[in-house]
């Protein structure tokens, strides 16, 4: 019931609204949606214009075309960066979710020395100022010969995504009844077997959300990627700004590139968002 419902509306049942309240509700939501969507649509709109379209948005409608996309996809290193991003983000996703799930399960089901400090460490790693870890990490990566390699970047991204994912998955595992584990044990499965054969399949929605979260973290990360990788190994986020940095800034290419990057991420995101609600609440709140 909305707060604007007048007292006389008592005869209406719960959840029903007067026309005025309905109108206000829809108007508010429409306005909010417009604010949320507009910047994204704006970039899409500009990207279909000529490459200086952002200076004359009014002209875009008269010069609609795919010139920016043609440049980005055929005449630049963009596809190469895209491949790098897919490799890095995909690997981060697989490795990150596997180790986060196994740690999350252990924390959810087993009481062991180090249990509490570990949970605390997960929280503390969220507090590390990324900008300050870069220098020591750079040195370390250099010493391990991992600079400018996919593996190095994947490992760095794992440290960003895994603590949050382990925390979320722990919450998710907590919602799965312990009786299932016990049944597995009675049937002679090892704890890891129980985890692998019984719990993981049940936790699929939670895994989907964490997988996606991990992927997106790696897909959009800028700072590490641009410091650690060079030329041929640039990921999208590191490569894209080079369109604007060259002698002649090509903002048109940048808008088209942004759209190409955002569309797949946004589509998958919108598909899994239903699980996101359950996943996040379970992870965030159940202890």
């Amino acid at each position: 019931m909305s707060a604007t419902t007048p007292a006389g509306a008592r005869s209406r049942g719960r959840g029903e609204r007067g026309p005025a309240a309905s109108l206000a509700l829809h108007a508010t939501l429409l306005a909010a949606s417009a604010v949320a969507v507009f910047p994204v649509l704006w970039i899409v709109f500009i990207s279909f214009g000529p490459d200086n379209a952002w200076q004359q948005p009014g002209q875009v409608l008269h010069h609609l075309g795919l010139a920016n996309y043609r440049f980005v996809l055929l005449h630049s290193s963009f596809p190469r960066w895209m491949l790098n991003s897919v490799i890095v983000a995909g690997a981060t996703m697989v490795i990150g979710v596997l180790i986060a799930a196994s740690a999350g399960y252990a924390i959810s089901r087993m009481r062991f020395p180090g249990h509490r400090p570990l949970m605390w460490t997960f929280l503390v790693t969220q507090m590390f100022p990324v900008a300050v870890l870069i220098v020591p990490l750079y040195n370390l990566m250099g010493r391990l010969d991992l600079l400018d390699t996919y593996l190095g970047l994947v490992l760095v991204y794992c440290t960003i995504a895994v603590p949050f994912c382990a925390w979320m998955l722990k919450g998710y595992f907590d919602t799965i009844p312990r009786e299932i584990d016990e049944a597995g044990r009675v049937d002679g499965l090892t704890p890891f077997g129980t985890f692998w054969w019984l719990i993981l399949p049940l936790a699929r929605p939670g895994l989907a959300v964490t997988a996606f979260y991990t992927f997106l973290t790696a897909w959009g990360e800028v700072a590490y990627s641009s410091q650690f990788m060079s030329g041929a190994h640039y990921t999208l986020a590191a490569g894209l700004p080079t369109f604007a940095g060259s002698e002649r800034a090509n903002w048109g290419a940048m808008t088209a590139g942004s759209v190409v990057i955002a569309v797949p991420a946004a589509l998958v995101f919108l598909l899994v968002q239903r699980h996101l609600v359950t996943g996040l609440t379970a992870g965030g709140t159940k202890g």
Binding site: L29, W54, A103, A106, F112, V132, G220, Q273, G284
Partner: protein, 329 residues
């Protein structure tokens, strides 16, 4: 139960002190717990090597006077060894005593920025979640539209805002001049820049809040609302007496996470303003980054800033979780 209550008295001790000496007790612990340890080992190793080691190294640097000039480097074939040395707490003293002239202004703005962002983001997120949490037409459409800023990578969203804010060609000025008002320099003055970064950060952050609180709202049993209504509670009373307490577990976690993230929010300020800033909009993190990477890199100063930021956050979250746990019991 919340994560806050699950570990009622979190202590930053990394290793439980029971590994001291006695071999048999270690063996017993090993036999009992090796399985759990094996399952968390990958995470512990990755975090240990890639987070704790750099942290330790950073802590060490913060006690020296290392800069770009006196660090080890290779010029051509010649290797120049590092000449920096240990200076104790000098860097920290510079920061805490306010002698470097930057810490307190930056801290003040960081706090203002964090409080504004978290408060506005949370209120808007909660408001949107409450609107969405009722039966209506087009609900899925609204939900998808409102979640979109989270779905696009942050740097893309920031780039869109940057185009729109542009003083010469931005869409905001087109709108303003179309109404007949003079064009504004949206990112011109430090104050305008501060407002702009807050707006963009709120835009990026609301969907997360909305999704999290929506989940929390849906977990509150409808019977509670019905009972409150039977007792004649007004909508406002229902909000304060049913919704707010019912949301508390979610709120506690989400506000803590979002405070920490906002305090350390690097990309938005850095990407929205680029180099067109006077430094007034720098929060502690971006300031430390500038220290480490612009001009003559001041590694030790940046590292000291990093440790100070970390200590502030650890102190805050310890205090916050204690209070949250106390409130709940």
């Amino acid at each position: 139960m919340t994560t806050a209550t699950a570990e009622r008295a979190p202590r930053p001790a990394r290793t439980p002190g029971r590994a001291s000496g006695l071999l048999p007790s270690i063996r017993r612990a090993w036999n009992k717990h090796w399985y759990a340890w094996a399952m968390v080992a990958p995470v512990v190793i990755v975090i240990g090597v890639l987070v704790l080691y750099p942290l330790g190294y950073g802590a060490y640097l913060s006690l020296t006077n290392a800069t770009e000039l006196n660090s080890a480097k290779n010029i051509g074939p010649v290797h120049i060894p590092a000449t920096y040395h240990f200076v104790g707490l000098h860097n920290y003293w510079q920061i805490i005593s306010g002698r470097d002239g930057d810490f307190y202004p930056r801290l003040e703005w960081t706090v203002v920025w964090t409080v504004c962002c978290v408060a506005v983001t949370y209120s808007l997120g909660l408001g949107m979640a409450m609107l969405l949490n009722r039966p209506m037409r087009f609900r899925l459409f609204y939900r998808l539209a409102l979640i979109l800023p989270w779905a696009v990578p942050a740097f893309v969203g920031v780039f869109a805002w940057r185009l729109m804010f542009n003083s010469q060609y931005g869409v905001f000025n087109d709108l303003v001049t179309a109404v007949g008002l003079p064009a504004q320099d949206w990112l011109g003055t430090p104050f305008a820049q501060k407002v702009a970064v807050i707006i963009v950060n709120v835009w990026c952050g609301v969907p997360f809040m909305m999704v999290a609180t929506l989940g929390g709202l849906q977990a509150i049993p409808t019977e509670l609302y019905e009972a409150a209504e039977m007792d004649g509670a007004s909508p406002l009373q229902r909000f304060t007496n049913v919704t707010v307490p019912g949301l508390r577990p979610v709120t506690t976690t989400v506000v803590l996470l979002s405070t920490v993230w906002t305090f350390n929010m690097f990309p938005i300020i850095f990407l929205l303003l680029g180099n067109n800033t006077t430094g007034d909009t720098d929060i502690l993190v971006t300031f430390a980054y500038q220290k480490a990477f612009s001009g003559v890199s001041d590694y030790s100063g940046a590292a000291a800033y990093g440790i100070v930021i970390l200590l502030i956050l650890v102190a805050f979250s310890t205090f916050y979780r204690r209070r949250a746990a106390a409130e709940q019991s």
